[in-house]
Amino acid sequence: MEGTTVESLKIAIFCWESLYAERVGGLARAATHLAETLAMSHEVHFFTRGWIQDQTIKGVQYHYCQPGGNNMVEYCDSMSYGMVENFHRFDKNRKFDYLHFNDWHAVQALHILQDRNTILTFHSTEYGRNGNQFGDWWEFKEISGKEWYGGLIAKRVTAVSATLKNEVMQLYNVPDWKCDVVPNGVVPREFRAEIDAGKVKQAYGIHPFAPLILFIGRLVYQKGPDLLIEAVRKVCQNHWDAKVIVAGTGDMRQFLAERAKDLPVNFIGYIPDSEYVRLLNACDLVVIPSRNEPFGLVLLEAWSAEKGVVASNVGGLSENIDAFVDGVKVEPDPDSLAWGINSMMDDPKNAIALGKRGRKKVDRMFLWGPIGGKITETYSRVVA
């Protein structure tokens, strides 16, 4: 927003992963890009873990700590103490204006620094990660407890979608006034490449003109790969030449491979980013059959590459797709999914048009610049 970011702020970001050191999943990308965006007009310090020297990249000062512990919860507490120690070293001359925490890992640090201007961003909840179910084991309770406590003491909370905001409000009693929705962003160029689709397909033994459906994600219940396999069975009745590539791995892989024995589905397992870019730009359709999806970054990545998307009508996917304008929304069940895939493959020209409009939406709503502006707006609403 114009006018709101005139003064340069000093911002501390706490996140347990980052692009240039320890990196686990999508959170690293989101937190790092946000930090880099903010660093264009503010002083940004990024507190994270890593076994390397502190460094400054694109204006962001990274401070690493080296945690340890016997289990996830202990490990994260240890990390939090390390982060706070680093934080105090840089809080001396000029005090930090805002402290921005990501997910539950650093809630212990949030606890210690709770008198400051704190913001907690939810990228997902333990309940959602567990497939919209409560767990009865101690880690589940511990982590949910930390999420509740973080939401309680943080001065301001953001969630990456309205669905997640509702979830957080219901699970953890975070009041409506305290919680903003700030979506994730994307750097479209990282996913858009000019590539000969036919050649990439051939590398997988697929005919250059055969329509290729891509699934990417962990092979776990939450992401719904089993729904896709069952849907493919129906799609093949209409499109004998359709091919599917399933990228990613997870505990369902064995089961899925068994189910897909007689289907044109290729499980390629974990792929490096470069292979993802190649496949994403070579495929004809991206399918996101998730049962629960707080945001759904794959959607923005597919749109960046101007690909048509068939996605479940859940969570962030449901909010961000305009049905038949920039994608097709279906119910998370095989019949509905098969119908959606067929409707796209019957009319490839339309699929391309939807993908192009998706890209336009990305350029309009999901670039990091405007999203950084939204975050600073949230900062300014912090009531200490």
Binding site: R192, A193, I195, V200, S274, E275, N281, A353
Partner: protein, 484 residues
Amino acid sequence: MPALSIGFEVHQPYRLNRHFAPDPKIKRKDLLNLYFDEINRELLLRVAEKCYIPATTQVLEMMDAGFSCAFSFSGTLIEQVEKWSPDSLALFEQVAAHRNAEILAQTYYHSIASCFHDKTEFTEQVRMHANLMRDLFHADPAVFENTEFTFNNEIATHIKDMGFAGIFTEGVDRILGWRSPDYLYTCRDIPVLLRNTQLSDDIAFRFTNRSWDMYPLTADTYAKWVAQSSGDVVNVFLDYESFGEHLWSDTGIFDFLRHLPEELSAQGVSTILPSKVLADYSPVGTIDVTETISWADIEKDTSAWMGNDRQRAAFFALQTAHAYSKDKQVWRYLQTSDHFYYMASKFGSCGEVHSYFCYLEGEDAFKTYMRILADYEERNIRTMKNRKAAKALRTLSPENAFHFASPAGYIGYTAYNLDQFCELLHIVPRDSIQHHLERGDFTFWIRDVLGDTHLAESIKECTERQELTNLVCEWRERLWSHLK
């Protein structure tokens, strides 16, 4: 009753030589034959025969009878008709001398220079065009029409500062909102004439469309539509080549044109020249154009020239070529918007429009363009002070560019010069960079292609993306400071 202001854009580019291959033996004076296609002459003769001569003959007759209209000739067109079709030029001279015609200003090279970061080149080309119009036609254009109506606040300010009385642009819905394009507006204190998209496209695109419910369009229907407008003046602006070339004469387009004046007067509509519009009407409001708009396609923005990555790569390379442009002429020919139009990868209805105009596919067009730009820069290095820096920063042909890959193959990112290489180091997936680092590809490329042994040596030991990026980007800035 509104008046009708009708204008024609008359332009031909110098199309690039599709079969270009670098040939060091060719002398500088023969370069134009090497870079530009022989087909230009052929195409010009065809357009002259089908459009310029018959259409202009007819328009002259109409103007004798009181019909008035405006013409905007690009400098590259004038050069071509001077060389190859003196008959057309003679007719254009008659037009320019006619009391019912007005000559408009544009950039000499029909260029995209107005989108450059630095506007001095744009200003220079507008001046060159004004000089040409004065020398050739004894005309002193007062109203400006930018390439494909490209327009924004900044361009408006520039044109006002150059002393023009008004400027044309597209009546884009999202800029106007509820307002009608059929009035005079101002933008940054310069009067703006807005093209009526609907009535212009009725002729240019829908005239031959048999599935259009108004097909076939006749002059009396069209005159009625114009008369129905509640505004002050309807601006219709067309590619002149619509008459006879895009729409062949057997479509009836010439009959349509011939009967237009009488049908217009039957409806009580008079035709008016742009400068007269500025004198007779006062602006009814202001428009604020922060994004860049144009008349192209349905998007009405610059996506026809800068819509995909290869177009953007070419556009940035073209701008950096300024440092190499001792011989400005070729550099300026390369700025003509058509080259970028040919690289488009659009689809659907506007894709069909594109495919008609495009004589080679987008990818080929892009490769040809980069090969020629690379050759042009290479030839100019000899005359530059710091040849080493110039060589390291020059734009490369697709054959010499750096294509990022993974063990599985090309991943779709290509750096055509060191600037783009720096930018891509931030974008390209980490595993691809790791792959090249392990093989030493970066070092080889920088040493053997860019010829920068210092940089090649210093990155030899790099193992991490960040370290590499810092070294390369810092060194690149140093090199540029040597050139400037």
